[in-house]
């Protein structure tokens, strides 16, 4: 047991944060919100040059050979700086999916380009009216030599800048009834509409209307789509938790800085015990969130079962971090109600990150499911197997 960051990880986190916090002004970040691209291409180029887009990919594919834990630290730093980038779509979602579950053809073709930041890919998994992925309505109908895709996807990240979209569809050909297909964004029949959403991500609804793709579009071997999807959902939840931790840290830092300098009643705001106790609670909650996120990320990175830990991390961060940003605003008062104060960036990003990849309710339901069907997993490592003293 050793719950401390290694020197290397700590230094990666500091470096990433230092870059992310100085990459863009708050004004520029606000201007990018709602734009089609959603991020600054020059900054993304710099992130690629520093090796962030490749951090999680193997050396022979042009990556840095680090793991998901290091990726979580980078995502956290970006969250803390409110820095928009295609990191989530291209690396966390599509890139790692191709790396872990992709067939050789697509992996060899795309992973090195994603790692180098030369190509952005994204995924299309969720569907309108189906926020929790209970069913998949989009279909991949077998045709001679390929498939025809019909359906509508939503919460597709960076669809305007992505070269291709890894799309989940029902497919009668596949043993698990599902297929992941690589759909070039420019194909006829692919239409997209920008979502107007809280937070800083460029999210799209993408409609597939009789889109024809060749049989080689299949991203995974037959019967492997569901497993790839499960890993994607776990990874997405864990890294959204990491983003939330970064958001929470930024909100706390802004609040403490403000409380130290703002004077009312001839005293700094932070000398009032009511304010101090709010700040202490925020700090405590943030630390719990960070530890739960670290545990989930470390287990995923090591390839260990992490169902319980991911659900706990995302459930807790999705509850606690938006709550933390509400308290941050309460302490700031009116000043932070205005758009030119940076706290609003975090207030809205917390909403979006909490909702993405399963909100708190979704993940508590997953834990409740474990409780009902797999008590040992629900209970985790500290399981004594002792009878509770009957008496």
């Amino acid at each position: 047991m050793d719950i401390t960051l290694t020197k290397e990880a700590d230094s990666l986190r500091s470096t990433a944060l230092a870059f992310a916090q100085h990459a863009l002004t708050h004004d520029r970040i606000r201007a990018l919100e709602g734009s089609d691209g959603g991020f600054e291409p020059d900054v993304w180029r710099d992130m690629a040059t520093m090796g962030w887009s490749g951090c999680v990919f193997p050396l022979e594919m042009g990556g840095a050979g680090l793991g998901l834990f290091e990726l979580a630290l980078i995502v956290e730093a970006c969250g803390q700086a409110a820095l928009p980038s295609p990191m989530f779509a291209s690396v966390v979602e599509a890139g790692m999916l191709l790396l872990e579950s992709g067939v050789e053809r697509h992996r060899a073709a795309w992973v090195p380009r994603i790692a180098a930041g030369d190509a952005i890919l994204t995924t299309a998994v969720f569907e309108p009216g189906n926020a929790e992925l209970e069913t998949v309505a989009t279909t991949a109908t077998p045709l001679p030599g390929g498939y025809r895709i019909d359906g509508t996807k939503t919460f597709v990240r960076d669809a305007a800048t992505a070269r291709a979209i890894v799309t989940l569809a029902r497919c009668p050909d596949s043993p698990d009834g599902l297929a992941l297909l690589l759909v070039p964004s420019g194909l006829r029949g692919v239409r997209r509409q920008r979502l107007s959403s809280s937070g800083g991500e460029a999210l799209w609804e993408v409609a597939f209307d009789g889109v024809s793709v060749p049989a080689t579009a299949l991203v995974t071997e037959p019967g492997q789509a569901l497993a790839a999807l499960d890993r994607l959902l776990a990874r997405g939840a864990c890294l959204k938790a990491a983003e939330l931790v970064g958001i929470g840290q930024a909100a706390l830092d802004l609040t403490v800085a403000y409380a130290k300098t703002r004077v009312q009643f001839e005293r700094p705001l932070g000398s009032f015990q009511a304010v101090q106790h709010h700040c202490a609670t925020m700090y405590r909650d943030l630390r719990v969130c960070r530890l739960l996120m670290w545990e989930a990320a470390a287990r995923l990175a090591a390839g260990q079962p992490a169902q319980r830990e991911v659900a706990m991390a995302k459930a807790k961060t999705s509850d606690a971090i938006p709550a933390l940003t509400r308290t941050a605003h309460q302490i700031h008062g009116a000043i932070a109600y205005y758009r030119d104060y940076p706290l609003e960036l975090y207030y809205t990003r917390a909403v979006a990150a909490a909702a993405a990849y399963g909100n708190a309710t979704y993940h508590r339901r997953a834990l409740a499911h474990l409780l009902a069907h797999d008590l040992d997993t629900f209970r985790g490592d500290i399981h004594h197997g002792l009878p509770v003293r009957p008496r």
């Binding site: 050793d2 834990l367 409780l371």
Partner: protein, 386 residues
Amino acid sequence: MDFDLTADEHAFRDEVCAFLTAELTEAVWRTERDPDEQGQWRREFTKAFRRKLGAAGYIGMGWPAAYGGGGKSRVYQTIFAEEMEYHRAPGLDRSITYVPNALLAFGTDAQKAEFLPRIARGELSWFVGYSEPEAGSDLANLKARAVPDGSDFVVTGQKAFSSEAHMAEYCWLAARTGPVSPKHRGISMFIVDMQSPGIRIDRYPTLAGWTHHAVYFDAVRVPDAHLVGEIDRGWSVIMGAIDFERAALAAPGLVAFQLDRLLAHAREQGRLDDPVLGDQLARLATEAEGARLMSYWIASLHAHGEMPQFETSMAVLCKRETARLFDAAGLEMLGAFAPLRAGSPGACFDGDIEAEYRDHLYFQFAAGGFDITRNVIAHRGLGLPR
């Protein structure tokens, strides 16, 4: 970074678990409980049990080898504390967590030689003489006086909220030797033999059912040799040693036990698939995991040679607030049967959950209450102004 116990740590946990399971048998639970004592174990049993902990090598396992210790890292000490709490075993208190570490840090060689071997064997119970009627959260306000007289100090004053003073061989005493202002200067630390003439102990029943104590010192003579640290510099001893106690208090075994008990109850009642209960238990299990990670995070920092301070207080806060969540949730889960006490027809777990609901109230104010701890986090952790 590794969130799993190593094979050796796992083996140690299994060993402690087996030891405690073998010691705390059903028969022991039937015959050795005493509602009049803090922790509800007969005082003779607690003392005998502490000697067994000593014989098994658990008390000194984290001390340096030069003092007969095992040199085990704080991770092992946390595992030990977690198991002790999980099994609700007696004896894990200031006598083995706080006083020996304070002696190691601040005691003279003679004091270490005099006390550490006996502490390691589990022979000594200590009471910590800090709080007074006018010095609770504001500890530096203490009034008990120690006046030099020849080669002794003469102590006069009153201590309050004195846990286990009635069974202590020694008192770890804070008394005023110097000026009243500034008030945290002029405090000194002493070791006082509780057999000394002039000590009187009063008993006060608590709402939790057990008896607490107040201690009166009337011209009690304490030899110079039992002054700990420099005269008038006791405050730094108090502050320097307090983190040792906190680290033990942050152990997550109580919370793990509370979770397991509720899970066992839900299973017995066939309610593991109740969606409302499922949501509640999912929240509680998440908080319990957070408290467990906090505790091992502190242990990891120590194991790396860092000296966490406010972080330790934060871990105690987290553990104790989580325990209080479980106390309330436990009553909720028992429904109409919640208020039934030990021995009553219909009482679940022999009324333990209701008893703990009263007992654990002290978490909210003792050894750094919830509000005081938030002050500590705000000042020392976030640098907010006083």
